[in-house]
Amino acid sequence: MKVSYRWVRDLAPGLELAPVEAAELLAARGAPVEEAIDLGAGLGDLVVGQVLEVGPHPGADRLLLCQVLGPEGPVPVVCGAPNVQVGMHYPFAAVGAAIPGGFRIERRKIRGVYSEGMLCSERELGLGEDHDGVMALSGEFTPGEPLATALGLDDTRLDIEVTPNRGDLLSHIGIARELHPSGESSLRLPPFPGDAGLDGISTARAADSCESAGVRVTIEDPELCPRYMAAVVRGVAVGPSPRWLADRLRAAGARPICNVVDATNYVMLEIGQPLHAFDLSALGGGSIAAGPARHGESIATLDGEARSLREGMLVIRDSERPVAVGGVIGGIDTQVSASTVDILLECALFGPAGVRATRKGLGISTDASHRFERGVDPTITETAIRRAAALVVVVAGGEIDGAVVDVNPSPWLAPTVALRPSRVGRVLGVGFVPAEISELLAPLGYKVEPSDADQLDVSVPGHRSYDTLREVDLIEEVARIRGYDTFPDELSRFLPGTVPDHPLFLLEDAIRAALVAEGLSEAQTPALASPEHGDVPLRNPMTREESFLRRDRLSGLLGHLERNLARGVRDVRLFELGAAFRAAAREGAAPRESARVAVAMTGRTAPLHWSGMAEAFDLFDAARVLELIGREAYDGARLLPAPIGSAPPAYLPDRCLALVAGEGDPVGWGGEIDPVALELPRWAGVVVGAEVELPESPSVRPAVAVREVPAHPASERDFAFVFPADVPAGAVIDAARQAAGELLEALEVFDLYEGSDLPEGTRSLAIRLRFRSLDRTLTEREVRDACRRVLVRVKEETGVEPRG
């Protein structure tokens, strides 16, 4: 909401706050000022100059030489504008003055004649678009007086952020009420210059339909339109508004259009009631009705759009067709134009829900709909139409025909809300006595009557009858007017809550810590993705790139990895925790949402070092990370080669591992990423990745049950097995482990060798077995027996024998 602070002060005599102070108070009241613009900015050096003489320039046909009376007596000024007249006043920049934009006027010789200043056009001053001539000032002026004062530009425009509950602040009077120390009782609506008043004009009232000046006004649906007032003004001359009106609208950030329309906008900005003016001659059948649109109706609106109306939308119709979308926008056929002579002024109350549904249905928002959606004061309707009619007569001439019509099916009654002072204290944490509450609420127009020991009956004023209808709404008002900063800053006692810390957060914390310790950097990717990476589409996406919910987390990470490589970063180690979404099992159900952790790595496993270069990341690094996550997330999780045909498409199918926990599908995958699907620079090496779905409610890991630290020595034996490539090492390892029995403390694979000295198609696997007993030193014989069992079992199960 943009307001002219000067206008606000005109409505609130005695309001002494400077604009900056007003802005601070508004912020403390919940309506922060986003911007305060000094409208006279840049005009500080300009004054009013009166032209005393105009004569031809001796050296140029197209120029004039004037004598201009400014602050220091008459000076010669060369001027090229054709409209300069003797005796008139113009904006004048004397030598040394700066005009907006910073240009400074100097004494300058123009075609042989000195010019000591400049008469300015609207455009040069940033006051308008006119550049055809200098800006003629109309009215009484003293030559040399500051231009800003003369033009009423010693004003500040406040751009106020108004929350959706405060429709009452969408007017100058609403802002004045909030700012004036004694509030409501000090406000007034000053008469317009030349305003004769409407005292002789009566009001014709009816509950559903009423006729005056040959126009019948009807309310068809009191839900959509609780009240409709109208006035006919005949004989207006449509044209530009007088300067004071146009200036005022501009000061409040509005654009002047023509005198009739400007008059309705003026009243809306002043007291918050939107109005509309119809060209009476365009209305068919001498009737106006407010009600729901009928099937198949349409209207061409003021913005030039042809709009089809849905049944039930709020429209104003004449005897034939819709002529306006009620509370939203007028029709183009009935708008006021230069040839309009008679007008019908509409001043109605439209219900917030109806206006909102209608304007959303049409996909537009206007100054009027913005106010009706937030609630227009139901007590100002008559004030508004009389003020608007008076202003039309003042600025456009004409006279009011007949009575002002008021169709009002159920006159408004002020709601009363019961407010318990004890409850105010209970919610706010500070005690209040009834008198204090009364003092705080009265300036805003609330009438507070004690009705019981602990009850006040609060009568709600019209301008707050949309947002303060409950006790708690008034409690907020008490806190707001008292000022939030006046409440003490004291911590109180509290009871611990009943909600346990969610175990999934604990698991995520543990995984994050483990992966950071692995040297990975945490990334974050929005869960919105392009169709290639999602199963669940959005209904109202903004872009194709963000039109689906992400089905996995790895694809996003690989995208970041690609971008890092493209920027020349060779070592990339990323992980992220986040949600992924799969299509719902049945239509209409929620998509399956799961917490995931994903990893993507490429480059060296350690930074460069003088002692030697670390190896590059490979599949087995992905395996380590996968195993690590599995350990944190699942009890007894283990790695298996991905069964044929099961690897997710991101991985090379023969270089992919599955993380399995219990029965059922794998909970995660890891391995070497298929480079075909990535965009990589030529120098890029192997890329590995992993992704694990986390359990919905992870079980808390049981405490470690400590094993005794062994006191007896261990015996170690090394074996080398040579076996064909088609026998998996895992089979040899598993067989050895099982055969070694309970004396086996550890099994380590310490070498894998494939060389030309081995038979074609074979490799050699070196395994170290460590045997130990907790209660005795093992005998040579026990160890030998265990080793024999290992050899026999490995041969039995895999056919593999130890190397020579």
């Binding site: 109180s492 509290f494 950097s521 929005p526 109202n540």
Partner: protein, 336 residues
């Protein structure tokens, strides 16, 4: 006998001083102190043949000899040790250490963790809820009718099914209160979604942290004091807090919380930053408590929400929020 002892001592000390390595020292030790044939041992054995009156003095001399030889051996051993050390190959200790990659926590995660640490110490636990939710949880249960100006469909991302991506973490309030009885004292970090296009301060998906307290004694003063305490713990004791009235459909009274950071430099100078909006907060609207079956006459509540990405931007001097989602290693690694 005593002369014999001092002669042996002089000899022994002389050879020990000359010994060039550990093996030679060991030979000398055996020569003098060897249990069977050692010269000092022999001397001690000779004591038995002496007269009882001479024996004590001679015994003392022999023992003193034994101690002196042992000490000299030890001294020379330590000397040799030190000499050998100098003989090891030199290492250039100015060479860089053998480093590993250092991982890093994302700055937004870090902000969440630090915020959580403070609220944990104030008695809060963490709750969570789904990111895809219903209009009921995201709007209606939170006292936000679907035809209210605050519920603009333009701002919310919907699925074809009519479900939506939560536009704030407040649905977690409802879900938590449905599941648990008061007192409630939770924070709920999580991702939320809006129909915002990318710019320096907006992304369509961003993190939020919700807080909720419901109790028989929760008041506006309590809300103010707790959030002010949080601000001072997070931004330092000199930070200032300001509460301004605002509007949220699910709280009343509602407030915007502004922070003025005050940076105290090591040279004692203070730099005051401007006021920055960091949180929305307020007393839980009684209609919200009614929607979850709590008695609003018995219980009151307060709630707040803030954006950890914004907090992280302020903290690390990040001017453009998009830097958080580009995931450039050179950006992320700075937080290692």
């Amino acid at each position: 006998m005593i002369d014999e002892a001092s002669r042996l001592e002089a000899d022994a000390l002389a050879v020990i001083a000359q010994a060039g390595d550990h093996a030679e020292l060991e030979r000398i030790r055996t020569l003098y102190l060897g249990r069977r044939d050692g010269l000092v041992s022999g001397l001690l054995r000779g004591l038995g043949r002496m007269s009882p009156e001479d024996r004590p003095a001679a015994g003392a001399a022999a023992n003193a000899l034994k101690v002196a030889v042992a000490e000299a051996l030890e001294g020379r051993r330590a000397e040799l040790e030190a000499t050998t050390a100098l003989a090891r190959p030199a290492v250039d200790l100015t060479l860089p250490p053998r480093r590993r990659w250092r991982g890093s926590v994302h700055p937004v995660s870090r902000a969440i963790a630090d915020i959580w640490a403070i609220f944990r110490s104030l008695g809060f636990t963490r709750a969570r809820g789904p990111e895809v939710d219903t209009e009921w949880y995201n709007f209606v249960a939170l006292n936000t009718p679907l035809d209210h100006p605050a519920t603009d469909e333009q701002d919310t991302l919907y699925l074809a099914s009519g479900m939506l991506l939560r536009s704030h973490t407040s649905p977690v309030q409802i879900r938590t209160m449905e599941e648990y009885a008061p007192p409630i004292r939770i924070i709920a970090p999580g991702m939320v979604y809006r129909r915002d296009t990318y710019d320096a301060t907006h992304t369509p998906a961003f993190a939020q942290i919700e807080g909720l307290v419901v109790d028989e004694l929760a008041t506006f003063v309590d809300l103010k004091a707790t959030l002010a305490e949080f601000v001072r713990r997070f931004w330092g004791p000199a930070a200032q807090v300001r509460f301004r009235p605002s509007f949220f459909p699910f709280t009343e009274p509602s407030a915007e919380v502004d922070v003025k950071r005050v940076i105290e430099r090591s040279d004692g100078r203070r730099e005051e930053k401007g006021w920055i909006e960091i949180m929305g907060a307020g007393m839980v609207d009684p209609a919200v408590l009614e929607n979850v079956g709590y008695d609003p006459e018995r219980y009151t509540g307060w709630a707040f929400g803030m954006g950890p990405a914004r907090v992280a931007m302020l903290r690390h001097g990040v001017a453009d929020i998009r830097a958080f989602y580009e995931n450039d290693m050179r950006f992320l690694a700075q937080f290692a």
